[in-house]
C-alpha cells in the first residue's frame, strides 16, 4: 500500500526564512465554541500556500472568519489578498498541486471540513537546499474529496465571478439545474413522482379553477389556481407546467385544458419504471447515509471506517445489480419522468429569480444568455439545494453597472426571503456598503479588520481600511484629490514581517516589524489587528 507518492512537482524552492509549516495538531477538539450559536461557519487560522517555481506563495496566512446565520458577511480586499482563496479553501477547491492547505480549521455543521488534513501530505525540507519535498497521500486526498460531497452544494453553495465561464457550455440550463436538484433533493423528487395522484378528483376541480381564472384573464388568479393544481396532484411542478401551458395558449383555454389533461395522463410511471425509480431512490438514500457517515467523521467520531466501507460496497452492488435497466431500455423512459419533473422544478426556481421567461431560459444554452441572466441562473442553481451558506465570489464584477444593480437587488431580496447566510467576496467597498451586514477587510492573506458594516464605514480603524475608503473615487464628492495607498500589494512569496501592512502604513512603528499584531476588540462587534489600538485581545 504505497499510499504516499513522492511527487516531483513539489520540488520547489523554499526560501531560507520559511519554516516548514506545521499542521495544526489533530488533538484539538473540533467542537464549536458555545458562545456563538449563531455562527454557521467558522474559519480558524486557515493557511493555504501555493508552491510555485518562484517560491512559496503564502496566499492565506492565518485567516479567522465567522459567518453568522441569516447575515451577509462581506469579505473585501484587493487583488491577490487571498479572498477568493479563502472561499476555495473552504470548499476545498484549491488546485493541488500547486496549492495546498497547510493548516487551520473550517468549522461547519459541528465538524471540521479540513478533518484529516495533516495526514494528506508530509513536508520534508531537502537538506542543504532551500527546497521542500511534499509527499502527498493520494488515497487520503481522494477520500477527502469524496467527503466534501457531503458539504458542497447542500451545505455550502457557491457562485462565481464569470457567469459565462462558470456554466457548462454544452448542457442546457435546465439540465445543469436538474443535476443539482437530483443530487441534493433527489429523494424528495422521486417520492413526488411515485406518490403523485393525477387521478385525484381534486385535480379536476383545480384544473377547472385554472380554466376559469384563465377565462377571466387574471394572471395572479391563474398562478394561485396553478399552485392548487400542483397541491392536488401532490406534485408542485405540475402546477408550474400547467401555468406555463395556460400562459402559452393565451385565449385558447380549451386547448390548454386538453394539454394539461394530456400531461396529467402521461404522468404515472409504469411498473418497471417505478422499480427503476425505487433503485434510484435506494442509491440516493445510500449516498445520503454515506454522506452522513462522512459528516460524523468530520465531527470527530471515531471508528466509522467499517460503516463507511459497508456503505460503499452496498452502493457498488446496487449499481451493479441494476445494470439490467439499461439493457431493457427502462432507464431512458424512467429518466424522462425525472427529467420532466426536474425541468419544471428548475423553471420554478428560475421564476423565483425574477426571470421573465423562465421556460425559454431553462431550455436555452448558456451561450444564448447574457451575463446577468446567467448570474441569476447560477444563484438559482446554488440555492436549489438550500444550502446553509452561499459563498459569492465577486458575483457582480464581470457585469455592467445596471445589471449589477439588478443582481444586488436580487441578492438583497433573497436574503430576506431565503435566509441563507452569504459570504460576499468583492473588491468593491460600495457593493459591500449596499448589501453586507458585516465586513471583513483582508490584506495580504490576513484579516485586518472585522466589524458591523455601519461601524466599519463610520469608524474605520485599521490604516489599511482607512486608506482603502479614502481612495475610492466618490460620485457624491467630486473634485477631490485622488488619495492612494503608497506602494503596491506585497509579493506574498516574501511577505513583510510582522504586520503585513507596515511598509505602506503611514503610522508604522518599530513594533509593527516584529510580531504579528494581535486582534483586539474595539467596541461592539468590531475587531482590528493593529498595534495602534490597545483594546482587549480577542479570546480565540
Amino acid at each position: 500500500m504505497a499510499a504516499r507518492v513522492e511527487t516531483p512537482s513539489s520540488d520547489v524552492p523554499l526560501p531560507e526564512s520559511t519554516p516548514v509549516p506545521e499542521p495544526l495538531s489533530p488533538t484539538d477538539t473540533p467542537s464549536p465554541p458555545a458562545d456563538d450559536a449563531d455562527v454557521v461557519l467558522r474559519i480558524k487560522d486557515l493557511r493555504t500556500y501555493f508552491f510555485t517555481y518562484d517560491g512559496v506563495v503564502k496566499a492565506l496566512d492565518g485567516v479567522d472568519l465567522k459567518i453568522r446565520r441569516g447575515q451577509t458577511t462581506g469579505l473585501v480586499g484587493e487583488t491577490g489578498c487571498g479572498k477568493s482563496v479563502t472561499a476555495f479553501s473552504v470548499m476545498r477547491l484549491i488546485p493541488d498541486p500547486p496549492g495546498r492547505i497547510l493548516g487551520g480549521k473550517v468549522l461547519f455543521d459541528g465538524g471540521d471540513i479540513l478533518w484529516g488534513l495533516d495526514k494528506e501530505a508530509t513536508f520534508t525540507p531537502i537538506k542543504g537546499t532551500n527546497r521542500v519535498k511534499i509527499s502527498r497521500s493520494f488515497r487520503r486526498i481522494r477520500r477527502a474529496t469524496e467527503r466534501m460531497s457531503a458539504v458542497r452544494g447542500r451545505g455550502i453553495g457557491m457562485i462565481f465571478q464569470e457567469p459565462t465561464q462558470a456554466m457548462n457550455p454544452i448542457f442546457t440550463i435546465s439540465n445543469q439545474i436538474s443535476e443539482t436538484l437530483l443530487l441534493h433533493r433527489g429523494i424528495e423528487i422521486v417520492d413526488g413522482i411515485m406518490g403523485m395522484k393525477p387521478d385525484n378528483p381534486a385535480v379536476a376541480v383545480a384544473l377547472e379553477g385554472m380554466v376559469q381564472a384563465s377565462q377571466r384573464g387574471k394572471s395572479g388568479e391563474l398562478r394561485v389556481a396553478a399552485e392548487k393544481l400542483g397541491e392536488a396532484a401532490q406534485l408542485p411542478s405540475v402546477g408550474t407546467q400547467a401555468y406555463a401551458l395556460f400562459r402559452a395558449a393565451g385565449r385558447d383555454v380549451e386547448g390548454a385544458r386538453a394539454d394539461v389533461q394530456n400531461v396529467l395522463r402521461g404522468l404515472k410511471p409504469s411498473g418497471l419504471e417505478r422499480s427503476y425509480l425505487h433503485h434510484r431512490k435506494r442509491l440516493m438514500e445510500l449516498t445520503d447515509q454515506l454522506d452522513d457517515v462522512y459528516l460524523r467523521e468530520m465531527r470527530g467520531e471515531a471508528g466509522l471506517g467499517g460503516a463507511r466501507n459497508r456503505l460503499r460496497a452496498k452502493i457498488r452492488i446496487e449499481k451493479l445489480t441494476h445494470l439490467h435497466f439499461g439493457l431493457w431500455g427502462i432507464r431512458g423512459r424512467a429518466k424522462r419522468a425525472l427529467e420532466r419533473e426536474t425541468f419544471w422544478r428548475s423553471v420554478q426556481l428560475l421564476e423565483g429569480m425574477s426571470i421573465a421567461n423562465p421556460v425559454q431560459v431553462a431550455r436555452g444554452f448558456p451561450f444564448e444568455l447574457s451575463g446577468g441572466m446567467l448570474q441569476r441562473v447560477m444563484i438559482a442553481m446554488a440555492l436549489s439545494a438550500e444550502p446553509k451558506i452561499l459563498l459569492a465570489d465577486e458575483p457582480t464584477t464581470a457585469l455592467d453597472v445596471t445589471i449589477q444593480a439588478q443582481i444586488l437587488e436580487l441578492m438583497r431580496e433573497l436574503k430576506t426571503r431565503v435566509g441563507t447566510a452569504i459570504l460576499l467576496i468583492t473588491h468593491d467597498l460600495a457593493v459591500i456598503a449596499e448589501v453586507a451586514d458585516r465586513v471583513c477587510v483582508m490584506y495580504a492573506g490576513t484579516i485586518v479588520e472585522e466589524g458591523e458594516v455601519h461601524e466599519i464605514f463610520r469608524r474605520p480603524l485599521h490604516p489599511y481600511t482607512q486608506g482603502l475608503l479614502a481612495s475610492i473615487p466618490r460620485l457624491d464628492r467630486p473634485d477631490q484629490e485622488f488619495t492612494s495607498i503608497p506602494g503596491s500589494v506585497p509579493n506574498l512569496i516574501y511577505p513583510p514581517s510582522g504586520c503585513r501592512f507596515h511598509p505602506r502604513c503611514p503610522y508604522a512603528m518599530p513594533v509593527c516589524k516584529g510580531d504579528r499584531p494581535p486582534v483586539t476588540i474595539e467596541g461592539d462587534d468590531h475587531a482590528v489587528a493593529c498595534y495602534l489600538y490597545k483594546g482587549p485581545v480577542r479570546a480565540d
Partner: protein, 480 residues
C-alpha cells in the same frame, strides 16, 4: 498557479515613493538568462525528457564521429563469404531505365540499372555474353572473367546505333572500382564443423545471413558486430549492419533536419502571411492547406518522386544521382509538410495579432513588416519549435516506410540510412518466415530488423520525450 488569480502576486514592490530594491549583485541582470534557467528547471524535473535529451546528444556525437570516418556511402563494406566471389558488370552508354541483360555460367540477369552482380565460386574462368539491346551494341558483347581472390568489376559500354560488333575476350582484370573496402568473412553451413577463426555459421547454407558477431565475454566485436544484411538470400555478399548504422546516423539526422527546417520555413512564412493579412490571402492559403492535408502524405511523396524520376530519369539540374534524389526527397516532403506548420502558425498569429501590444505598435505608426518581424513572429515561435522537434523523429520512419513499400528512392538498393536499413531488414525477415523455413533449421535473422528498428525507435521516442518536456516547460498553463 495561473488558475488562481490571487496567487498572481506582484513580484515587485516598487512605487513612486519607495525605491526599488537594487539588482542582486550590482551588474546588469540578464533577463533572458533567467528565462532559460526557468525552462531548464522545469525540463530537469521531467526524467523522460532528460533521457530523450541524452539520447539525442549521443546520436549527434555519433553522427559527428561518423562524418570523420572514411566510409563512403556507396562503398559500404560488402562482405563476401570466403568461398564465393562477386563479379560485377557496370554499364555505360544506355539511357536510364533501359533494360539490358548479362548471361554468365548459364544464368541470365537483367536490369534497368547500371550494375549487374553475380556471385561465383572462385577458381574457374567464366564466359559471359551481353544480351541484345535494340538500337545499341555492347562493347564487349561477350568475354571471359577469371574469378580469383578479389571481387571483379567488368565494364560494358553500349554504343548507340549500328549492328552488334564482334566479341572480345580476355581475362578481365579487377575493375577500377575495386577500391571499395571489403571485409571477407569465412562462412560455414549449419551442422558442419567450424573451419577456423573469424568464421560464422549461416542458416540454410545461405552465406548471406550471419548473426551478430559480438561476443560479450570478453568483449569482442568481430567482423559483423550487428550481423549481416542480405538483400537476396542466395547471393554470397552482404552488408555490414553496424557500419551501415554508423554511417546512417549523419545521413538520417541531416536529411531529417533539412526536411523539417525547410518545411517549417515555408509553413512559417505562409502561415504568418495568412494569419496576419487575413481576407482573400488567408482564404486561398487555408484552402491550399486543406487540399494538401487531405492527401495522405506518404502517397503524395511517392507520387511526386515517381513522377519526377520517371520524367527526368537522368537527374535534375545536372546534379549527381544521389544529390538529385536527396533534393527530390526534401522537396517532396516539404510539399506535404508545410501545411501542418502553416496551420499551427496561423492559429498562433491569429491570437497574437489581437493582442493589445500589436495594436499599440500600430498606434505608434509601426509598419506591417515591423509588426510581423518584431511582434508576431517572435511570439508565435514556440509551437513551431515543438512541432519541429516532433517531426524530426518521424522522417526516418517515413523514409523507411517508403522503402519497405518497395519504392525506389536511393540510387542503390542499399543505402546507409536507418529507415532504409530497417525496411530491408524487416522485409527480409518477413519474407523468410512467410515463405517458410525448412524444418529444423529455422533461423530468423532478427538482428536485421531489431538493430536498425531500435535506432529509429530510440531517435523518434527521445525526440518525442524532449519535445513533450519542452512543451510542459514552456507552457505556463501546464506549469505547476
Amino acid at each position: 498557479m495561473a488558475t488562481d488569480p490571487s496567487t498572481a502576486a506582484a513580484p515587485l514592490t516598487g512605487s513612486p515613493t519607495e525605491p526599488v530594491p537594487p539588482a542582486p549583485s550590482g551588474r546588469r541582470p540578464n533577463p533572458r538568462l533567467e528565462q532559460y534557467k526557468r525552462t531548464w528547471f522545469f525540463l530537469r524535473r521531467n526524467t523522460l525528457a532528460l533521457i530523450g535529451l541524452g539520447i539525442i546528444v549521443m546520436l549527434v556525437l555519433i553522427a559527428l564521429y561518423a562524418i570523420t570516418q572514411p566510409i563512403p556511402w556507396n562503398g559500404l563494406p560488402e562482405c563476401t563469404a570466403s568461398n564465393n566471389q562477386v563479379v560485377k558488370f557496370t554499364e555505360t552508354g544506355l539511357p536510364g531505365g533501359t533494360s539490358w541483360s548479362i548471361t554468365i555460367n548459364g544464368v541470365t540477369s537483367s536490369t534497368s540499372g547500371n550494375n549487374v552482380t553475380f556471385s561465383l565460386a572462385s577458381g574457374p574462368a567464366y564466359k559471359f555474353t551481353v544480351g541484345n539491346v535494340t538500337g545499341y551494341h555492347a562493347s564487349p558483347a561477350s568475354g571471359t572473367v577469371n574469378v580469383a581472390g578479389a571481387p571483379i568489376t567488368e565494364k560494358i559500354t553500349f554504343i548507340a546505333g549500328g549492328a552488334v560488333s564482334g566479341s572480345s575476350s580476355g581475362a578481365a582484370s579487377p575493375g577500377s572500382s575495386a577500391s571499395l573496402p571489403s571485409c571477407s568473412v569465412c562462412t560455414y553451413p549449419v551442422g558442419t564443423p567450424v573451419p577456423g577463426p573469424n568464421c560464422y555459421q549461416t542458416p540454410k547454407n545461405v552465406p548471406g545471413v550471419i548473426a551478430p558477431t559480438v561476443s560479450l565475454h570478453p568483449l569482442t566485436l568481430g567482423a559483423l558486430p550487428m550481423g549481416s544484411l542480405a538483400l537476396q538470400p542466395d547471393i554470397p555478399y552482404f552488408y555490414n549492419v553496424y557500419n551501415g548504422m554508423l554511417r546512417g546516423t549523419d545521413y538520417s539526422l541531416l536529411i531529417s533536419f533539412a526536411i523539417v527546417i525547410v518545411g517549417a520555413f515555408v509553413g512559417l512564412f505562409l502561415g504568418a502571411v495568412s494569419g496576419f493579412f487575413g481576407g482573400a490571402v488567408d482564404e486561398t492559403i487555408m484552402r491550399l492547406v486543406d487540399i494538401f492535408l487531405s492527401i495522405p502524405q506518404l502517397l503524395f511523396v511517392i507520387i511526386v518522386i515517381a513522377v519526377v524520376s520517371t520524367t527526368y530519369p537522368g537527374g535534375l539540374f545536372g546534379l549527381s544521382d544521389l544529390d538529385t534524389r536527396v533534393l527530390l526527397l526534401i522537396s517532396a516532403f516539404m510539399i506535404v509538410w508545410w501545411p501542418y506548420y502553416a496551420r499551427i502558425v496561423r492559429g498562433q498569429v491569429l491570437v497574437v495579432r489581437e493582442q493589445k501590444y500589436v495594436e499599440a505598435a500600430r498606434a505608434s505608426g509601426a509598419g506591417k513588416g515591423r509588426i510581423v518581424m518584431k511582434h508576431i513572429v517572435p511570439n508565435s515561435m514556440y509551437p513551431v519549435f515543438i512541432q519541429m522537434s516532433l517531426d524530426v523523429g518521424a522522417i526516418p520512419i517515413l523514409i523507411g516506410t517508403l522503402v519497405f513499400l518497395g519504392f525506389t528512392i536511393w540510387p542503390t538498393p542499399y543505402f546507409p540510412e536507418w529507415g532504409t536499413i530497417a525496411a530491408f531488414g524487416t522485409s527480409d525477415v518477413i519474407g523468410q518466415f512467410l515463405i517458410g523455413c525448412e524444418a529444423g533449421i529455422c533461423v530468423i535473422p532478427w538482428w536485421q530488423m531489431v538493430f536498425p528498428g531500435l535506432a529509429l525507435f530510440l531517435f523518434a521516442i527521445s525526440v518525442n520525450f524532449l519535445s513533450d518536456g519542452l512543451r510542459d516547460a514552456l507552457d505556463p498553463r501546464l506549469r505547476r
